[in-house]
């Protein structure tokens, strides 16, 4: 039965790792501004290929309005 105790010890260790990850994310400032990152992830990284003025494409994932509480 002592195998359960070993497993428990491991699982606590693992969970502690997640707690540490949570601490890191708070320290990293991820909870300071919870809005920008939700938008930022949708931006394209690449530079636009066509320098000409773009056609207004409404079919962008972000035409929805910024949610309001």
């Amino acid at each position: 039965m002592s195998v359960i105790l070993v497993l428990v010890a491991f699982s606590v260790l693992l969970a502690g790792g997640f707690l540490a990850a949570f601490f890191w994310s708070v320290r990293n400032g991820q909870y300071d501004d919870t809005y920008s990152s939700s938008v930022r992830i949708l931006f394209d990284d690449d530079k636009p290929k066509d320098p000409a003025p773009p056609v207004a494409t409404p079919a962008s994932p972000m035409t929805e309005h910024t949610p309001n509480q």
Binding site: I4, G29, P58, T66, N68
Partner: protein, 837 residues
């Protein structure tokens, strides 16, 4: 198993944080500006979405309402940044005419740069700028892609919640001034005030609540799992081994819960007791400590399973309440002092008349300074040359500009309207008349309301009751069965721990605060809702509070002029910046400007000029008619070729719906008016305010404060509504101070709440809703008492088992939170306030 809980916890907490923080920033105003309906989009400006009028400017088959918007579009499309327009429709803000040229010249000064920059090394600089215009995802995209506009920018990150952007740039390629001017050119105007130069004084983010919440949640989850075997009453050797070891683990997890996450409550209770004040934290702290030590004793001595699961739940739920309550509007500041009102730099003149720029803190008495149109007088000074016309409306409440002649003394804080003036500084900035007003002792002290919160009152009786109850039942059991005494007394303290009670206040008032926030009424803390609900007297400031800030109104009924004459008047007044001219011009829009020759503005008298060969004179009676009768303020006389046409009545415009607001409020509240201005509008105001005795004019800031104090001394609970620096003392002294502002992100004096001026008509609704919120608090307090009675009946009879406690505690908390949240939502729906914007 427990790691799964931890993952879930981390995953869940963040989206909740996202959700809740959302409404912090996006004000209704922003929404309105950008919620352009598709119907109007045919004529809507491609950049800002405003109606383009009859003659739109077209470029690339897109319509623009003004050249400002077109220019921003050109800059962006020329720099491969036109994706800006893809994320939101019409993301821009209408450009305000901003004469940039010399405005930011002070940023070339090394000393000022040093103070503004976060760091600067090896040609790389970093600066944090507060930009109130940040409002949507396009803003984030553009500000984080500034390198497309200028290669000198290396990296930029937006903090949406605080409306800040941190920019790292190569200062060899791009100077700070160029960077700021770049931002201004695309209409993201950073706010640079004396406050942004105060290093170290910058607001720090308090992340402690997240750590405490995380620890409590983590330990709670694990304790629940390890407690599970003890809920099953199987009795064999293996199970017992597990139970023992799990019990020890529970103690291990209980330590951080009680002494890290729970420390806030213990410390708060201790501080309160030291001041002989019994707050709600006292029974909570007692509950936490008793839970921990009794459980530890039970587990170690092997007499029971302990209540560690209840302890974890208790602290976890309480921490959630704390977190919900502590939410603040980070982009708003409720504690502003004169530093955020004053500019960063000032132009000084050498003896030879050479202009140079120095940081404002270097300003010394004896220096000569130059103050241009619309600039602030930074220190008490003497007027050396030029015609001063100083707008003190923000500082003293006087509605019309005061004219000053050479040799006159000018107090700091006024704004020059008109041509540049030269001043001789008399006192340092920190010692000027205005700043001394701020620095008075009462400004420094933390505001104390004159009453205890409902929670304080209840917890005082509650704590007493629990003490009596535990003593009585302790004595009872001591006489009947002494072995049970310890168990029963601790059980009472455990079950009486007012977790549910402590949750009612943050969740109901926090909910109300969020409803207010959605209606552009921002509270400093949740407790302000209660203050609002108890108010019985409302004191209004006049200038800028019940009157509008955006210019005067003009009444043409006393003027008999032809269209052609009006056309000429319009052409003449557009050359003057005097508020009366601006008001007249606003009423006469739609005329094309005719050329004016011989234009002259005679300060404090009027303007004259020749249009179409006709000689026009506009101004005071003395100036226009040549008579020296008693001047009636608020009348602008107009003559064409020395023939008097009559006068235009110029007066303050009251806020929309003011009459309805005041008549509705007067049914329940005693209304007062406290103005720094003269009593020219007494007649008008008498029809709004019930009693002449409550109308006070020509009050200095100090007198305003005294007035509030005397009202409070007579037992009244005072709500003060003001807007200017002259109200700062009164706002502070009142039980609840609301500062009203056209733009909530710009300067407003220290206060308890900031109201966006467009929402003034909702004032009665806000007050009513605050009372509704308090009724919800009372109801949920009754509900939580019911739970306590059930719990206590278990405890007193000696039947409180860990399972009962572990079920009762979360059950009561969850139902209370559910009840409160739901009722706030429902009652908001039935009020006249917006639930969702």
């Amino acid at each position: 198993m427990n790691c799964v809980i931890a993952i879930l916890f981390c995953l869940i907490l963040r989206p909740i944080a996202v959700e809740v923080s959302m409404g912090i920033i996006i004000t209704k105003q922003d929404e309105e500006k950008h919620n352009v309906t598709p119907e109007s989009s045919s004529n809507a400006c491609y950049h800002c979405g405003e109606d383009c009028g009859t003659v739109p400017i077209t470029l690339h088959e897109k319509l623009f309402c003004c050249n400002g918007c077109r220019m921003v579009y050109e800059i962006l499309s020329a720099s491969n940044a036109s994706e800006y327009y893809r994320f939101e429709q019409h993301p821009g803000l209408k450009s305000v005419d901003n004469a940039v040229e010399k405005k930011y010249a002070y940023l070339d000064n090394d000393e000022i740069c040093r103070d503004l920059l976060e760091f600067s090394e090896d040609g790389v600089s970093k600066i944090k700028l507060f930009i109130p215009a940040i409002h949507c995802s396009s803003c984030i995209w553009l500000l984080e892609n500034l390198q497309r506009l200028n290669a000198g920018v290396m990296h930029s990150t937006v903090n949406f919640v605080k409306k800040e952007v941190v920019i790292t740039f190569r200062d060899t390629e791009l100077s700070l001034r160029q960077l700021v001017e770049l931002l201004v050119s695309i209409n993201y105007i950073p706010q640079l005030t004396l406050e942004s130069m105060q290093k170290g004084a910058k607001r720090k983010v308090n992340r402690g609540i997240y750590y405490r919440l995380g620890v409590a949640g983590f330990c709670f989850g694990n304790i629940m799992l390890f407690s599970f075997p003890s809920y099953l009453s199987v009795n064999d050797a293996v199970e017992n081994l597990l139970r023992q070891n799990f019990g020890l683990l529970n103690i291990l997890f209980g330590i951080p819960v009680a002494f890290y996450s729970g420390s806030v409550f213990i410390v708060a209770a201790y501080k309160g007791l030291k001041k002989r004040f019994i707050s709600i934290d006292v029974p909570i702290a007692a509950g936490i400590l008793v839970l921990f030590f009794r459980s530890a004793y039970e587990i170690i001595s092997g007499t029971g399973h302990g209540f560690m699961d209840s302890l974890g739940g208790l602290v976890f739920f309480l921490s959630i309440g704390r977190w919900y309550q502590d939410k603040t509007y980070q982009a708003l500041s409720f504690e502003r002092d004169y530093r955020s009102y004053f500019p960063v730099a000032v132009t000084i003149l050498s003896d030879a008349g050479v202009e140079s720029i120095i940081p404002i803190k270097k300003l010394k008495p004896g220096m000569r300074i130059l103050v241009r149109n619309q600039e602030l007088v930074p220190a008490d000074a003497l007027l050396v040359s030029g015609e001063g016309s100083i707008d003190y409306s923000f500082v003293s409440g006087e509605s019309s500009p005061v004219s000053k002649k050479e040799g006159d003394r000018i107090f700091a804080g006024g704004r020059q309207v008109g041509a540049s003036i030269e001043l001789l500084v008399e006192r340092e900035v920190a010692q000027s008349h205005l700043t001394e007003l701020w620095n008075q002792d009462m400004m420094g002290a933390e505001k104390q309301t004159s009453w205890d919160t409902i929670l304080d009152v209840i917890s005082r009786y509650f704590t007493l009751m629990i003490l009596v109850l535990s003593t009585v039942s302790g004595i009872f059991w001591w006489l009947h069965d002494p072995s049970q005494t310890f168990l029963v007394v601790t059980a009472i303290l455990i079950v009486a721990c007012p977790c549910a009670l402590a949750m009612t206040y943050p969740f109901s008032l926090g909910g109300a605060m969020r409803v207010f926030g959605r209606n552009s009424f921002y509270l400093k803390r949740t407790g302000v809702v209660e203050n609002l609900s108890k108010v019985d007297t409302i004191v209004f400031d006049k200038t800028g509070t019940i009157t509008r800030n955006d210019g005067l109104g003009a009444d043409f009924s006393q003027l008999s002029a032809s269209q052609e004459q009006l056309h000429m008047v319009s052409s003449l007044v557009r050359h003057s910046t005097h508020p009366a001219s601006v008001a007249v011009y606003r009423q006469l829009q739609g005329f094309t400007a005719l050329p004016v020759s011989g234009f002259a503005e005679i300060p404090a008298r009027g303007i004259q000029g020749t249009v179409n060969g006709h000689q026009l004179k506009i101004g005071s009676e003395t100036f226009v008619c040549g008579t020296s009768g008693t001047a009636v303020s608020g009348r602008v006389y107009i003559s064409v070729d020395n023939v008097l046409l009559g006068f235009v009545g110029v007066s303050n415009r009251y806020r929309d719906g003011m009459k309805e607001v005041l008549s509705e409020l007067s049914q329940r509240y005693e209304l007062h008016l406290l103005s720094g201005d003269n009593d020219a509008e007494l007649e008008n105001l008498l029809s709004f305010f019930p009693s002449r005795d409550h109308l006070n004019f020509n009050k200095s800031p100090k007198e305003k404060l005294e007035y509030i104090r005397s009202l409070k001394a007579s037992g009244r609970k005072v709500l003060m509504i003001g807007d200017g620096l002259n109200d700062a003392g009164a706002l502070r002294e009142s039980d609840c101070g609301i500062s009203i502002a056209d733009d909530v992100y710009h300067f407003s004096p220290a206060c308890d709440a900031i109201l966006e001026s467009g929402q003034f008509r909702h004032l009665p609704d806000f007050l009513r809703f605050s009372r509704t919120a308090m009724r919800i608090v009372f109801l949920s307090i009754a509900l939580s008492f019911a739970y306590n009675v059930v719990g206590l009946s278990f405890a007193i009879t000696g039947n409180l088992s860990p399972v009962v406690s572990a079920i009762l505690m979360p059950l009561s908390s969850v139902t209370i939170v559910g009840f409160v949240t739901l009722s706030v939502f429902i009652s908001a729906r039935f009020s006249r306030l917006d639930v969702k914007s």
